[in-house]
Symmetry: D2
Subunit: 348 residues, 4 copies
């Protein structure tokens, strides 16, 4: 049995960070990870098992202040950042300079093109250091970039909506069968944990329950990732997110026109061929369709479709658990690839 | 003060029928309506106030068996049918022969074209009597057919999804500004009361809660109404319904391409002009969008939109309460027009 | 037709205040009420119809700064305060000095005994002015204090939990059939609107959904009201509130021992006699029990019970809509009594 | 590594059976279990992975008809019954006669006393065979009967409500500090999966959502287990179950009077001492209280309490996931004890 890996997590008190920590705590290849908090919070420091009763009963999970020398001393090799994108933007170059490998769950390093990055308003947008880090970042969607992830120093873990949309469209775009000129539409719906833990009037129970609302129409930050990864032009994709009255889960209903008449079996083959051997994508045979419940609490992306009688109009349905395949689960999947382990280790 | 109208309701124990009954019970122009049940159920007959505690405390609401002579004797002039479409299909011709005016809340008489009606599988599809009744039926969407409803003997009350979609698209189609060749998509989401009161595995709480699912893709019965009312060809509209984990409310997110570049103000004017003077449609000025909560427990259809920077791609959001503007409220609105009352009587 | 009353509301943007405003806007005896905000908020002033789309479509509801001269000029006679208790504590004496009648929906003036009032931490607890106002305040539970409300200058509108508990117990205590020494327990459950509109980690959707939690055990502020109104000693009542994953509604399950063996019919008669002629209490005949849905969106308090075979142990179930009979609806009921109108005006 | 155990499950398509099957499929000590269905259903036979998409992606789970020779041939040693109690009542004697060990998740064999068993209406109540099996059945609450479970031929797995109530009260009753004459009250609330998978008007989404209801007051079947295990008389315990608008989870709020004045620390010690070394009970230090979310998707029973200032009145809060510690998880825990494995194997 080889020595276990020592990893660290910054941001373990958010929804994504907590889910990630729970996965790492039971991962068979890992020592208990170091749980970090930024210095200014240290005075309120405490123990994750006390803050989150759901974690209690199995031991103690003290938080420690982030300190590069301390991480080195503890033998930490891999750093997970479950932090706001501004924090990741400044911390990642430091961490890499310290010789750490990094999996960043924020949007800080996902985008190559300045035009898309603009939505994040990074002040360092054109610095040399940022450009270097941008250059080395691998977009951590294992189903698309499996070959690049093992050697990566920095994995930029995809957004939750982006994961659901990109995985649904990649096989069809790769096969060249989408009529891109007619436009692609993703009508996506997400549970509230996707909106983060910060209490505000939008996330108040009374605002969400018995409700549904669209938001950020033509203006959501995840669109940039989708366009870059799918190599689409801005006008070729409309993405409309909605806030569902459920804690977690994403369902994207995606509309495309095919550029030739196809049969359902051909469409299904297109998906099956593209994802052959990929552990965490499940293809549904028509007329079955994914539902949010099916992939909840799993790392699966579930894909299904309906083809119109004309063989041209195609409706795709893609589901992920936004905290797992859409965030923490995918981060673990990326770690598994980075260290040469099986893609499903610690995820079942 | 003129004499009050005597109406009757068949099917007051379903979700729609109960909502309708509650509206009629407090309508200022009506006597207490006769509440009917079909004969085979008479042995279990009882009182609506006992069956539904929510109704108790204000009086007694006994159910009586449906009998044409009894209705005549009670002076009933108007019959509401909140029955399955097969029942409405056989009852409406009888009721009209009895000289009653009818508002039918089922899908039995909404469609003119045989091709669309086929989805209902009516056995009488080509009988002379059915053709006559089909001919006289007015589609009860007051915002489109206000002039025809006052004189109608039979009003076919629209479907809930259809109401949300047709009201969103009618102004733009009337103005001729939609590029119909590029296709229209309605991604619609409904609360569970829209699926009816019959318990089954789909409506079990555990199946719906924490979930979202698409269903009847390319095959929902309400599509026929939408196509007929909007004068669209089958291939010009994709309609995808979803089941939301909420009791009531519909939100339709609708995607269209405009055939010329427009400004948001022009789009808003198109809606405002079309619905000028119409009491039960509310137009939201961009960037505000309707949410399901806003129209819940009201008879409003709320309409909003987002226009892309290119002035061509338009996302519409349309919300109705499926039991009110999508069913019972609209039926009352139709009654108000049939009898020359204000459109909002009994609906505030 | 007599002249209509001019009322004013301070705090119409909270859950209770908004519900109250909606009731007042359609109350047949009232002019459109003046909607007030405290001065410091005036710079962000605006229109209620814009802030709450649910209110739009019927007119304009501008907010105006609270100013005694302006209220006098507008002929305001009655002031509703839907404000935090500290604000009510300072505003009520001023308003009364101005000659206004007041219905205060906060906890500021509900309690007579200093010992109970202590939980609110009023700084003025022993001032002469406060003592005078405390003296004149009538606890606004119409089913108990109907005779005193018509002449009241100040009505202290009851708490939502207190309403559900007091109405369930008052008949049995008045009849002297409860064995008080064995203790009374109210296990109460409330929807989230009862926790107020302020976003915090407790009211975040993800904290509430799929959850249930007890809170403020042995320490909830409403206990004082219950003890005073029911004339119980502290040790005779245990009250445990719970937070339900629903927007609104309260169900209290209450456990008492009877001091003699009774039959279900006797218990039912005790309730029916006590509430004879009371419009807004509904008694359920055993074995039927109230559920939260039955009284939702109504001003009813629903009461039911189960008696053990031994005729001694009694379980009561009491339901109210916390925003209506538990707050805004009861305030309107109090107004109706203050001005000699029917108890149900504007509440159906 | 010793040979793995071959187990079988009858009833894997219900909520409890499916949860159990998922646990068994990933249990490190087990071969893939045989999944059984009763013969009359065989014609609709199929594969669990097809019926439940949540299970797909990891292999094939065919259902096979229940046949004793086939089970013997496959080397099955342990049979789980997740069947209605009538079915368990007839199957268990047969299975034991075949030499199988059995864990029965129904209520068929939990009760020793005829008086309690009467609520189930077993026709064989006084047969010799039934008496023999009743005699050998061990009530499978490991925290109480750890010593008897290893040698058991038949484990009667406890009810979900019973688990939450018994575990909360056992330490205090064992210590003799409860004033039993004053009565014990358990006000319990459960998610809908506890009501079973059969669709009916009570489990329809629209009936449950935005609602809370008490049911089976003074008449729930689980009371018998509680009385027997806690050695209480009927009049000493009131149990009131409620249906919560959530899919899963139970919270019991339990009220007791102590027979002497105690301090919170003493109460906590009473719990900690009783459950020392017990892996699946977590004690919360006051003022922290369990919430349903904390134990969801775990096998923990979480226990907390609040003691009144008088040191006499005690409120206990007990939470379990009704499908895990309340059913399938506890069954696995029992299996672990029966075969001498660690209590937490396959449950983390």
């Amino acid at each position: 049995m080889p020595a276990k890996l020592k990893a660290a997590v910054l941001g373990s008190t958010g929804y994504t960070g907590l889910e990630l920590t729970r996965l790492l705590l039971r991962h068979p290849r890992l020592e208990q990870p170091a749980l970090l908090q930024r210095e200014k919070q240290t005075d309120t420091a405490c123990n994750l098992a006390e803050m989150f009763p759901v974690l209690s009963g199995n031991g103690s999970y003290p938080l420690q202040p982030l300190s590069w020398p301390a991480l080195r001393q503890q033998g930490v090799q891999l750093l997970f950042l479950a932090t706001p994108h501004q924090a990741s933007r400044s911390l990642v170059p430091e961490a890499i300079a310290q010789g750490l490998r990094v999996i960043d769950l924020s949007g800080a390093w996902r985008l190559k093109r300045e035009q898309h990055r603009a939505v994040y308003g990074f002040e360092d947008a054109d610095s040399v250091a940022a450009a270097d880090v941008t250059e080395m970042a691998i977009y951590g969607l294992p189903e698309l970039h499996r070959d690049q992830i093992p050697g990566a120093a920095l994995v930029a873990n995809p957004g939750c909506y982006a994961t659901s949309v990109i995985l649904a469209l990649a096989p069809l775009l790769a096969a060249g069968i989408i009529d891109r000129e007619r436009g692609i539409i993703s009508d996506s719906k997400s549970g509230v944990s996707g909106a983060g833990k910060e209490p505000n009037s939008r996330t108040h129970f009374v605002s969400v329950a018995d409700n549904l609302s669209a938001y950020s129409v033509f203006g959501h930050r995840h669109v940039g990732e989708m366009l870059e990864q799918l190599q689409l032009n801005t006008c070729e994709l409309i993405f409309t997110p909605h806030l569902l009255p459920i804690p977690r889960g994403i369902l994207s209903t995606i509309y495309v026109h095919l550029n030739r008449e196809m049969k359902a079996g051909e469409v299904e083959s297109c998906f099956r061929d593209f994802y052959a051997g990929r552990r965490w994508v499940r293809i549904f045979a028509t007329p079955k369709l994914p539902q949010i419940q099916f992939s909840l609490h799993t790392n699966y992306c579930d894909l299904g479709f309906c083809l119109a009688d004309d063989g041209r109009r195609l409706v795709l349905v893609s589901c992920v658990d936004n905290l797992l395949k859409g965030a923490a689960g995918q981060a673990v999947q990326n770690m598994n690839l980075m260290y040469g382990w099986k893609e499903e280790e610690g995820l079942q």
